[in-house]
Symmetry: C3
Subunit: 348 residues, 3 copies
Amino acid sequence: MARQKALRLKTVASMLGLPMEGDGELLLNGISTLDSAGPDELSFLSNPKYRKLLKDSNAGALIVHPSVAEDVRGACIIADDPYLAFARASALFDPFERPRDGIHPTAVVAAEAVHATASIGANAVIEVGAVIEEGCVIGPGCVVGAGSTIGAHSLLHANVTVYHGVSIGRACVIHSGTVIGADGFGFAPSAEGWQKIHQLGGVSIGDNVEIGANSCIDRGALKDTRIGSGVILDDMTMVGHNVEIGDGTAMAAGCQIAGSAKIGKNCTLAGNVGVVGHITIADGVHLTARSLVSKSLDAAASYSSGGTPLMETRQWRKTTARLPKLDELYRRVQTLEKMIRTIQEDSN
Amino acid sequence: MARQKALRLKTVASMLGLPMEGDGELLLNGISTLDSAGPDELSFLSNPKYRKLLKDSNAGALIVHPSVAEDVRGACIIADDPYLAFARASALFDPFERPRDGIHPTAVVAAEAVHATASIGANAVIEVGAVIEEGCVIGPGCVVGAGSTIGAHSLLHANVTVYHGVSIGRACVIHSGTVIGADGFGFAPSAEGWQKIHQLGGVSIGDNVEIGANSCIDRGALKDTRIGSGVILDDMTMVGHNVEIGDGTAMAAGCQIAGSAKIGKNCTLAGNVGVVGHITIADGVHLTARSLVSKSLDAAASYSSGGTPLMETRQWRKTTARLPKLDELYRRVQTLEKMIRTIQEDSN
Amino acid sequence: MARQKALRLKTVASMLGLPMEGDGELLLNGISTLDSAGPDELSFLSNPKYRKLLKDSNAGALIVHPSVAEDVRGACIIADDPYLAFARASALFDPFERPRDGIHPTAVVAAEAVHATASIGANAVIEVGAVIEEGCVIGPGCVVGAGSTIGAHSLLHANVTVYHGVSIGRACVIHSGTVIGADGFGFAPSAEGWQKIHQLGGVSIGDNVEIGANSCIDRGALKDTRIGSGVILDDMTMVGHNVEIGDGTAMAAGCQIAGSAKIGKNCTLAGNVGVVGHITIADGVHLTARSLVSKSLDAAASYSSGGTPLMETRQWRKTTARLPKLDELYRRVQTLEKMIRTIQEDSN
């Protein structure tokens, strides 16, 4: 674990633009959780409901809601949304420094349009016609394909691969191992086997997008695969060709979006949700973990699919052994209902 | 999105070996979908059933079945299988050019057997004893392990990793981030913990195979993991050690094949299908999305598993709460049936 | 498939510290399975129950349990746990040699603490402040971030990415494409969209850990993500931020562990098990393939979830069509039971 930056409380409050109480000179050596923060650390209480936890915390300073400020024994920063203030504070303490070293001598840069303020890491490869805008960081071992654009202040961590014909917006963060612009899975059957359909589209990604490690965003078949602005995708996300993802949508790790699916804005997909191809999901839809979306969803609501809840394997085997007989069981109940009605009618 | 190549209609028809009608001099700036193609673009109608859509298309030229050629107002290419002809045409318009630059000065090539016509990208590493056959393209940042062979005209996109002892056939395409030949998951339990079983087999891949991005094909424990010719695997496919996959089989993204499974020829696995270890799947089997194959399948048919269809989370919670009681419900219905029979017999 | 090393039988027995019978001078050209081993190969019979298979084997030598040694026609090595002895023997025949070449001239090493016995591959990048201990092998194209530590004798295969602030113990093996220390998925909602929570923790990995290809181990939010010693993770494992995994736990390919989950020691997770965030799993729990753990598990036992067993798609459609009506079916059976009771009471 890397050591966090050290900052005085007053500096943090000032950078967050928030009021504080207590000793502003207090030197904070980082942020920690409520139960493990020490007297030289900052912590936060996101939900006033848990205010009783405050008395057990040894944190040197706390970010809290105005309604609980009176319960804080030490120093505090006061915020209407303490969790959001904590998120902003986390950037201040982050010891990770974006490199500002220009083009590393071992990088292979065939492109002319690398901005003077961009940093290109060791052994990175920037192919002909690519555009690397101001303040970009291209990590070691990254490859940016011919004619692709990386927008201003975007950060590609080490070993990211961007194919040709990809456009990434401003202030994006792409984690290591992620591949953007590989061919979509398009093949036509023929007597000689699968005939590849060359994928002639590209990938277009908006601004402020974060994509986790070892993800794949495939290029479109005839038009671009599109990811809106403010989208956040966790590790190992798979986005097929021609998919469109609306602004602000979030996907936890391992989601798999099949080709030509269209996902609305501000949707939230929990871990490992699957979406079949060629369907449309409305804005604001929520999907629970491991759901498989097999049809279009027109209304903002929470949806689920998936099987049995977790149980001991023995019981689970019994249950799943019955499942293939469910249709038969249903019919047997219908028969029983008819028989009962007959019996009742007879007895009347 | 990269600009596609420009070709005259007559050139396209001639390269496809297909008849055309209309102005062969028409310059086509690419292929597009039926509804978005403009007068300088080629499109296609794969299914004559949708011939009524033709009148709304502005495509400059169309690939169509002979039976609908009369409906086409502009130029057309006539094909018995328009979708296949489109697939072939996509190769002609693809702006991606295979590099033909020989060995990049930053590549580290310890192998002697790199064909003079092969291209080795920047910062690629070819270890001792590897064989890179004619016309191969090894992308930037790729690593090809000791003694491995890449067959003629195969293409490894950037940042592919091939371990030692791997054999890849001719005309294969491997996408970025894919790892071929990592150790299979073999460990023996011991009093001191898991004892690694060194994976002494390799990987053997046929001709005309395409493997999507960020996939893993593990090396065999004592013999090779084998992938037949003409196999197509989408992104994030995981193939365990000793697996055998027959010629022509296709897997959509995220399929996971556990060790020693044997999958037949010309199977189609939809997205994220799982196959448990040590089972056999016959030729021509089809599996729907997210099915888990937990037993051998002897007959060519379509199989499925998986849970409830997608529903609103509230209803899904009710349903899945009942599932663990399914065996009990089944028994209660049996009891009811007996009771009814008794009542009926009594009343007779 | 790479040729295995050649060793005399007596050498193998001696290196395993086990007694042998037969011609110790026999030159073994490798290990193979019982049914395919030839007269110059070693094989093994792990379970005495299958001793009848011995007579059909052409293996030159066998590792067997003392109770079956008399059935072996040729030479043998005698072991109380033949499977474990085979695992140990596999290391002897493995042709893969760890490179011992020091720092490759194309590697970019900003760190001072690279041990003289470590090997740094071509085009690898070791950032400032990183520590590479004795006997380590860092493969070609790997990136080790600032201040991270790779413990003695650990092996990073090609193209592994380790972020800053990561600590990997001794004798670990990390396969290609794996990313350790990427940001956990932490974002706070705000009026302007998702506000990134900088991930200030690191990753701490014990000794003798093996991690398969294309896996992701995310860094913690405020403390380290922790993986105990002797843990084995197969390809494409996803471990979210703040997760803790106890010593000796094994996960087959594609497991997905959401943030802040705590998994005990010596658990076994079959392929593609999912674990939701913030739950605790006791030591010694076993989970079957594709189970989703949605609640804490306090007792060592085998657990499962998941849907219908595999069936023909037609039958599966019928079954799953009934599933959303399961709650209704349950209520109808309850009604039937009441009616029957009423009928019976009336007839008494």
